[in-house]
């Protein structure tokens, strides 16, 4: 099942994920994926440190950004409009019980999607995520409960990259971020990105279902 929540508060999307996880455990739903876009929010993972947030409360209030502690892996990241978020709800018991293999598969989804957009992306050993010429374009942080996945990945389409200067993304000081719009020098619509990335997601995870009968990315360049 694909649940497209559109532009939604982080907390509301989180509640939807938890509900899906419970339903997946009970066998009420098949492996699914929740698609979303968030209003500006900084989220800090379990092992994250507040010192990676580089601005004070006043600056946060001025920009209308919330800060939330969340139960995914990883440190601090930013979510905001123009960023495509995927929250796969997948029972890894029925596939391969390997958390890192799952992280690599999520990277593959983004790498193949970008390939279709004529962008050469790569992974960097020890730095989970997807990178283009040394800059991060997609962030990944996941959680599992009883081997059912939640949280997931975010891809920068045309998100305002200035927000990332307020943090040390993923807790790393030297990280630079980029976006599709930045690389292609043109805008990529959310709808087009959704169709294409879901196609590659289904290609790799083989969820089946006609909902995934998208098309391959038509090169934008």
């Amino acid at each position: 099942m694909i649940l497209d929540l559109g532009l939604i508060d982080y907390e509301d999307a989180y509640r939807a994920q938890r509900e899906f996880v419970n339903r997946r455990k009970l066998g009420e739903i098949e492996d699914s994926i929740i698609v979303a876009e968030h209003k500006p929010v900084f989220t800090i993972g379990r092992i994250g440190k507040m010192e990676n947030l580089l601005v004070d409360d006043r600056a946060l209030a001025e920009h209308g950004i919330k800060v939330l502690r969340v139960d995914r892996g990883g440190d601090i990241t930013f979510h905001g409009p123009g960023q495509l978020i995927l929250y796969p709800i997948i029972d890894l018991k029925k596939r391969r019980r390997d958390l890192h293999q799952y992280l690599r598969s999520l990277e593959d989804v983004v790498i193949r999607y970008l390939q279709g957009c004529s962008i050469r992306a790569e992974r960097i050993y020890g730095k989970t995520g997807v990178w283009v010429k040394g800059k991060k374009i997609a962030a990944i942080g996941i959680a599992v409960s009883g081997w059912v996945t939640y949280h997931g990945l975010s891809v920068n389409l045309n998100v305002d990259l200035d927000f990332f200067s307020m943090i040390n993304p993923c807790g790393m000081k030297d990280v630079k971020v980029t976006s599709l719009a930045n690389i292609l020098n043109k805008n990529v619509t959310m709808d087009e990105a959704k169709v294409n990335i879901l196609f590659h997601f289904n290609d790799i995870f083989n969820l089946g279902g006609s909902e995934f009968a998208g098309r391959r990315c038509t090169p934008l360049a």
């Binding site: 379990r46 892996g73 390997d98 959680a143």
Partner: protein, 76 residues
């Protein structure tokens, strides 16, 4: 008494860090409910309780590293 061991998490991963106990010692838990959360790289792993019972003992606290195969709790 049932030993709760840290299972295999990922190829090449031998250790994980305890990040959150969903139950305190003395609490009851049902089989399949999340007992403890651990972190490795960009993933958190919620380990479900293998049995229903009372959490009798925890062998490691938040922030501590544990090894795959290690007993981390006892449930009766």
């Amino acid at each position: 008494m049932t030993d709760v061991k840290l299972p295999f998490l990922a190829q090449g991963v031998e250790k994980a860090t305890i990040t959150y106990w969903h139950r305190d010692v003395g609490d009851s838990i049902k089989e399949g409910e999340d007992l403890v959360e651990l972190a490795t790289d960009k993933a958190t792993f919620n380990l479900p309780s293998p049995v229903s019972g009372i959490l009798k003992e925890v062998k490691a606290s938040d922030g501590e590293e544990v090894r795959v195969g290690q007993i981390i709790a006892k449930i009766e």
